[in-house]
Symmetry: C2
Subunit: 293 residues, 2 copies
């Protein structure tokens, strides 16, 4: 079920028109976000007359932005730093998982209500399937990091039937909170627990280009063993230090681009009511990440 008619005119010079539906990402900064490239390539591929733009919303202004987006009549929007938590009071409703995580990364409209959801964890679970044809059901998983991403992933792993979720972090209090989100299967882990799991997820920014953690790995190569799967939510650089180290030991490993793609397609499908064109979106992301280096 689609919310639109296909609109062949959008490929013309004179697009968007007054009738084009607007969607947006709200955050600060937003100019480097990959989301516009992802969503616009998807809209274009399907001939949906929608345009997705980046709107800078400084800290403290999210309430006013949401109010404006209401009367603009947008179909929905994405939310990024620094508003993922502070937006909640301005929405009409948040999903159970968003409430548990106190975090929203996208908002959709149902009639005139704005509903916030948190889909980082679900995106990770879907990315594991895409990359390794792997279901987390019955698996033991180590989650490195207990920030927003670590929390979301711990919750989603438990919700998807993981047997054990070890949250490994230098900060024991946030690790304990993240483990608690995984309920009866959640544990605060230590480095040695990596030996007991079949899936390791890096949910820290360690290894990310442009930070003081660039070039580093969250664990040592000799902590990994054959048959494990390594997923790194970092996607810049394209091949992260952790992925490189794991692959050099013959271990299947993937960086975070596939999670980013799934994060987007979940929102895309909720907004449009149409299946997202995965191949088009993947190639747009690949082209853009390669361009950025």
């Amino acid at each position: 079920m689609s919310n639109f008619e296909a609109e062949p005119r959008m490929a013309s010079w004179a697009w968007p028109t007054g009738a084009t539906k607007v969607l947006a990402i709200l955050g600060d900064p937003v100019e480097y976000s990959l989301s516009p490239v992802i969503h616009n390539s998807g809209f274009r591929r399907l001939g949906l007359d929608c345009v997705y733009v980046a709107l800078r919303v400084p800290n403290g202004e999210i309430g006013k932005a949401v109010e404006a987006l209401r009367f603009f009549g947008v179909l929905g929007f994405s939310v990024t730093m620094p508003h993922k938590e502070s937006i909640i009071p301005y929405l009409d409703e948040v999903t159970d998982r968003a409430k548990k995580l106190q975090s929203v990364n996208f908002v959709y409209r149902q009639d005139d209500r704005f509903i916030g959801d948190s889909t980082d964890g679900q995106a990770l679970v879907e990315a594991l399937r895409d990359e390794f044809d792997l279901s987390v059901h019955g698996r033991s998983v180590a989650v490195l990091g207990s920030g927003g991403a670590g929390r979301a992933i711990s919750l989603a792993l438990a919700d998807n039937g993981a047997k054990e979720v070890y949250v490994i972090s230098r900060n024991l209090s946030t690790a304990s909170a993240a483990a608690e989100l995984a309920g009866s299967v959640g544990y605060v882990g230590v480095n040695e627990d990596i030996d007991r799991v079949s899936v390791i997820v890096n949910a820290t920014p360690i290894g990310m280009t442009g930070t003081n953690l660039a070039g580093l790995t969250p664990i040592r190569a000799d902590q990994l063993k054959e048959g494990q799967f390594v997923y790194d939510i970092v996607y810049h650089p394209h091949v992260t230090p952790l992925v490189e180290v794991a692959r050099s030991r013959g271990i299947q490993a993937a960086s975070g681009v596939s999670m980013l793609v799934r994060l987007s397609t979940i929102a895309f499908e909720k907004w449009t009511g149409v299946e997202a064109p995965l191949e088009e979106i993947r190639s747009a992301v690949r082209a853009e990440t390669l361009r950025r280096g």
Copy 2:
């Protein structure tokens, strides 16, 4: 002087990106506005990485919309019904002519200040030059109608050196106010004054498709005489009843598309610092108005 680098990627599938600069038209309704088609065709032609979208802002919400557009960091925006007057208190400054007219049709940013201007009158003066190679300097002109457009046109005609400006309207009090805007060359006119002028401008909606005035002309054919010029600000239909009647008497006449184009190029150049690509914009407008019939 341009505010941008040319951005060849904007012709790709995955455009706009996070770095694309956003501009907008604010009004209600906005979905039928020709402005997005005009501005986006111009941006595209010049390779400027800007996108112009239509944002619905209901009556009473313009202050909130302006506040949001401030922190979004937009380059500028257009203003249409019902906000042309009510927006004024929310801007940092308005030009002299906008203040006299108590009307704003576009806003540009200077540093962090939003400045409102009213350019309907200037656009009409430029359209007369485009259509008839005609300068209003030293000319006697009849303006039919004393609403917002009639007022703006009367002021601009006087500012551009017209010898006499006759405002002809059934409403003597608004006619008198419009004539006053033309200062010492402004007069409240009657139908007989049409005989004394070389230029007649229809600033009423008479003849506009989709209204109860469709098919009508604001004056009779036998009121016109050879050597006069007739400009009709109505542009829907493409050839208005007044233009048809005038041409049937061998009188040079044009409908409002050229004024609409000039209205847009004035804003385009203020926003971008770049000369607007007139031919591209004209052909985009022509294609769109023909498409709409």
